[in-house]
Amino acid sequence: MNLNESQIERYSRHIILQQVGGPGQEKLMNAKVLVIGTGGLGAPAAFYLGAAGIGTIGLIDGDQVDLSNLQRQIIHFTEDVGRPKVISAKEKINQLNPEVNVVTYETLFTQENALEIIKDYDFIIDGTDSFAAKFLINDACVIGKKPFSHAGILRFDGQTMTHVPGTASYRCVFKNPPPKNAVPTCSQAGILGAVAGMLGTIQAAEALRYIIGIGDLLTNRLLVVDALSMKFRTVAVAPSELDITEFQTYEEVACDLS
């Protein structure tokens, strides 16, 4: 693949980077990344991936844009309220970068479609807002042997980790979803919008670095962010002997934050 004139210019600040260069940019342009959820995490993640020139971005979301989303889900605009999120996100990505092939799945990510959808992607970003979905994505990626980035956000806190086959998975941190009453209800919880952006863009950076093959990913460690005191720390996570080979029952405890 040869970059054309406008691509050279568009991606020049990538190409300048010694660790990226032309070959790194070409890897990005040949890559396929799936973003599950186009909310607080998925919106900035997908937007940056689009800007970076990822060849194919898959977007899964069954929701429509709500006015209360706009405080943090920066890929959606006021005029999009009521429209399917995946369509809104696709349009923005293509306005930002028409070269990106955006594939939309206006549906929920479920046990039934999980493996079929992820199989064609090189990297998966978990931008969902429920424990059930997070465990499902974890299990699907472990079973399907796919690398993925996990992230979760609440109030001023965020956490994120990356899994590639052979390293610790989300279940090595949390064995099972928490019981229902242990999770703050939507009315109790809130989120500082920019925190969603911080974590989402970390996820995008993980995807980019994985695809180019540079640096140290957030594997076997959990990055914990406290944006109230603005402290970052990482916690080591040991890969356990958990053998995930089939799906379990994932009880939905929805919290519409991300």
Partner: protein
């Protein structure tokens, strides 16, 4: 009974298609490539993303009750719960989601139907009149030829990759009801000295550039049908234009070659096979008779039954048997209605249904005593036009912009409005049973407006910058005798919302004067055409958007007419309408520029129209002048399609700085010219052929050969970016010499190259101040 046999390779092709669909869903196949794959399987994407229409081949319009029932079931299970009858005598299932497409296609296999070749560059559904075989006035039944030719053609591998579609039609009598001069290849049945045979026409076609077909043979014996078709196919395959899909049909080949050359090339392929009897078609026996049935007779009587018979029933040439039209609303037959009809028809045999070109269903081979039974069945159906005069169900319309990506207007909505408007008049529509009122949503001729008595095709109009739906008006097609076909002529245009009144006024006058003229044509010549032109004037204007917004939303549309979806659609002629408006405005100003008193304002207008003209090709619609300038600067000047030197001019216009424009008068007209030139270079995918600076790509060189690149005039950091990209293509040890400007470039680039680990062997300044830097690649 089957109306064709599918190729033995079909199921294998379907397996591949299934895989392709999955790859497409996973983003591995891009939409344009997938389109080529799916269209060949008769699968079209509807306006709504990821929703598809599946078109099913029905040779000669024939389909058996059990086949139709299966299609209805598939429609109920996976589609919109109905079967759609098309003007090409096929049936379609609409609103099928991607994941269900293969289920529908495989379901069709069970009853021997196929969607293969429903679209794409291949032999499309072969037509014959829906009354062929039962019409007392026919020369002979052409259905067996349609069936045998279809089966033969879809078995042949070389039928699937023609330059463009190839349409064939048969007429069963000199009256040419199949319009053989409007199609790529047409056969008209005639008997000469006791020998069955055909007059042959070719290179006709409707569409946006309609051409009337030419006679190729006055008579060929009936055993030559395959030979002629095969030769035409081979010739088309070899000589058709594959580069541009807008000039690839056989009609364009004729236009390019003229008769002599066309015939010569045809004969190259025809004469060698002409005498080969082994190629003769094996004609199936298609019997028109009714099965014996013990169905209980349910008689009907009274004036309503008599009216029904008058409207829809005609006697067949087979004594005692009847042919009945089932008038469908907009070509749609509800699945549950289809079940009722098919169950009834099962009593009379498999050869009982034809699709007709008027998007209706025609039943045949019903014994007279059972007409009452059929009357009871038909009047109980939910969704037909059985209570209306035949004129209403004879109106033809394409599906329009609701589902079709090419569509501009919504003729389905229009058709309903016309029906409701006429229903409020006391016009005697029974006297218009043969009248053809045809409408298409765009210049493509799915609604067959070229062969209409009164035809409409959709266009976009604009008032004070607001778009509103409108239609071109045509009238007076001459059909009904082969060899003498003439297309309807365009007489004017009318706002969509005025058409119901327009039609009511026009038909009112025609009905009043009908008896004074020998024919419709005579009526048109004597004043009908003038009336249409006058009515166009009367009904062209619309109120301002602020006064009455209804005119700006098409019938049946949920929102105002806009260009939102045109950009991504296939190249639609609607776009050319839009471009034409600006182009003509510029020409008009240029022409009258010497006489004008308001030169400043005219110059402003030229810049404005130049700026707006091609925005539509990018799917952009400027709501204000200012926006037009802004979008033009962004998408045409900054994108490198129009020279940067015009930016000042465009910005001046944006500020309404008229003195700046008159100071640069010649540049204003140069801009218009540049835009025009760009437009001329546009290809069929709306892309422009602009000489782009060729990207810097390094060829592999021997290590002792030094590659040289000139990056003078390239600013930081792009000079480094380009250097780096060239170095990426080299192997360790190879050298690269670059030319750089003095100043920041020479201060930065060599150091950056060193930081990447490469060696800078030499850097020297030449007499003109430029720098020559020799680099050796280090890491591999």
């Amino acid at each position: 009974m089957r109306f064709y046999e599918s190729a033995s390779t079909l199921e294998k092709e379907q397996d591949q298609f299934d895989l392709d669909m999955k790859s497409f869903a996973a983003g591995e196949i891009n939409p344009v490539k997938f389109k080529a794959i799916r269209v060949a399987h008769g699968v079209y994407e509807q306006r709504q993303e990821h929703t598809y229409m599946i078109r099913i081949r029905c040779a000669g319009g024939g389909i058996t009750p059990s086949q139709l029932k299966k299609v209805a079931e598939l429609g109920a299970q996976y589609g919109s719960g109905e079967v759609h009858f098309t003007t090409r005598c096929e049936v379609q299932v609409h609103n099928v989601l991607l994941q269900n497409v293969i289920k529908v296609i495989r379901g069709l296999n069970e009853v021997g139907l196929s969607s293969r070749g429903g679209g794409g560059n291949t032999i499309r559904n072969i037509l014959c009149p829906s009354k062929s075989g039962v019409d007392p006035d026919e020369a002979f039944d052409v259905t067996p030829y349609t069936v045998a030719l279809t089966t033969r053609m879809i078995q042949e591998e070389d039928s699937w990759n023609l330059p463009r579609k190839f349409k064939i039609a048969f007429s069963h009598s000199e009256k040419d009801v199949a319009f053989t001069q409007t199609t790529c290849l047409g056969f008209v049945a005639r008997v000469k000295d006791g020998q069955k045979g055909f007059a042959v026409y070719c290179a006709g076609g409707m569409g946006a550039k309609p051409m009337v077909g030419h006679q190729l043979f006055d008579f060929i014996p009936d055993d030559q049908v395959y030979h002629v078709t095969r030769a035409m196919k081979l010739m088309f395959d070899k000589h058709g234009n594959r580069r541009s899909k807008f000039s690839s049909r056989i009609k364009f080949l004729w236009k390019k070659l003229d008769r002599e050359d066309f015939e010569a090339r045809f004969n190259e392929d025809y004469l060698p096979i002409k005498g080969d009897k082994s190629l003769n078609l094996v004609l199936p026996e298609i019997e028109n008779s009714a099965n014996d049935t013990d169905l209980v007779v349910e008689p009907a009587e009274g004036p309503e039954f008599a009216l029904w018979k008058q409207r829809f029933v005609s006697a067949q040439k087979q004594e005692g048997l009847y042919c009945i039209k089932v008038p469908l609303q907009l070509g749609d037959l509800l699945s549950k209605d289809a079940y009722q009809l098919c169950d009834f028809l099962d009593h009379f045999g498999e050869n009982t249904i034809r699709c007709d070109r008027g998007q209706n269903m025609r039943i045949r081979n019903i014994p007279e005593k059972y007409l009452g039974n059929l009357y009871h069945v038909m009047t109980k159906l939910d969704h037909t036009l059985v209570q209306f005069p035949a004129f209403i169900s004879n109106m033809i319309n394409c599906t329009g912009a609701q589902t079709c990506k090419l569509g501009i207007c919504l003729p389905r909505g229009l058709s309903t409005e016309i029906r409701e408007r006429l229903d409020k008049t006391d016009l005697d529509l029974e006297r218009l049973s043969g009248f053809r009122l045809n409408m298409s949503g765009c210049p493509n001729t799915c609604g067959m407006h070229h062969v209409a008595d009164l035809g409409f095709f959709g266009k976009i109009s604009r008032k004070s910058g607001n778009l509103y739906p409108a239609y071109n008006v045509l009238a007076g097609a001459k059909t009904g005798q082969h060899g003498q076909t003439e297309y309807a002529k365009k007489l004017g245009e009318v706002a969509a919302h005025h058409i119901p009144d327009f039609v009511a006024d026009f038909l009112g006058n025609y009905l009043e004067e009908k008896e004074d003229h020998d024919s419709y044509q005579a009526y048109l010549d004597a004043g009908g055409n003038d009336l249409i032109k006058a009515l166009c004037e009367q009904y062209k204007e619309v109120p301002e958007y602020e006064e009455d917004a209804r005119f700006y939303t098409d019938f049946g549309a949920k929102k105002r007419l806009s260009l939102d979806e045109l950009g991504s659609a296939e190249c639609s002629a609607g776009i050319f309408d839009m471009i034409g408006v600006d182009q003509k405005s510029i020409q008009a100003i240029e022409k009258a520029f010497d006489q004008t008193t308001d030169k400043d304002n005219d110059l402003y207008k030229v810049v404005f129209h130049s700026a707006r003209m091609l925005l539509v090709t990018r799917g952009l619609d400027a709501k204000t002048d200012e926006q037009a300038f802004q979008l033009f600067a962004k998408h045409f000047i900054q994108a490198g399609l129009i020279d940067e030197s015009y930016l000042t001019l465009v910005n001046a216009a944006k500020q309404r700085d008229l003195s700046a424009l008159s100071a640069n008068e010649s540049q204003v007209f140069e801009l218009a010219k540049a835009v025009n030139t760009l437009y001329k270079s546009m290809d069929d995918s709306l892309r422009f052929k602009v000489e782009k600076k060729t990207p810097e790509t390094a060829q592999k060189t021997d290590s002792d050969e030094v590659l040289e690149k000139d990056f003078r005039g390239v600013a930081c950091p792009m000079n480094f970016v380009k250097t780096k990209l060239v170095l990426d293509t080299l192997q360790a040890g190879q050298q690269l010499q670059i030319l750089l400007d003095d100043g920041a470039p020479i201060e930065n680039v060599p150091n950056s190259v060193k930081l990447e680990g490469h060696q800078v062997l030499k850097q020297e300044q030449d007499g003109s101040g430029h720098w020559r830097v020799l680099i050796q690649k280090v890491n591999g």
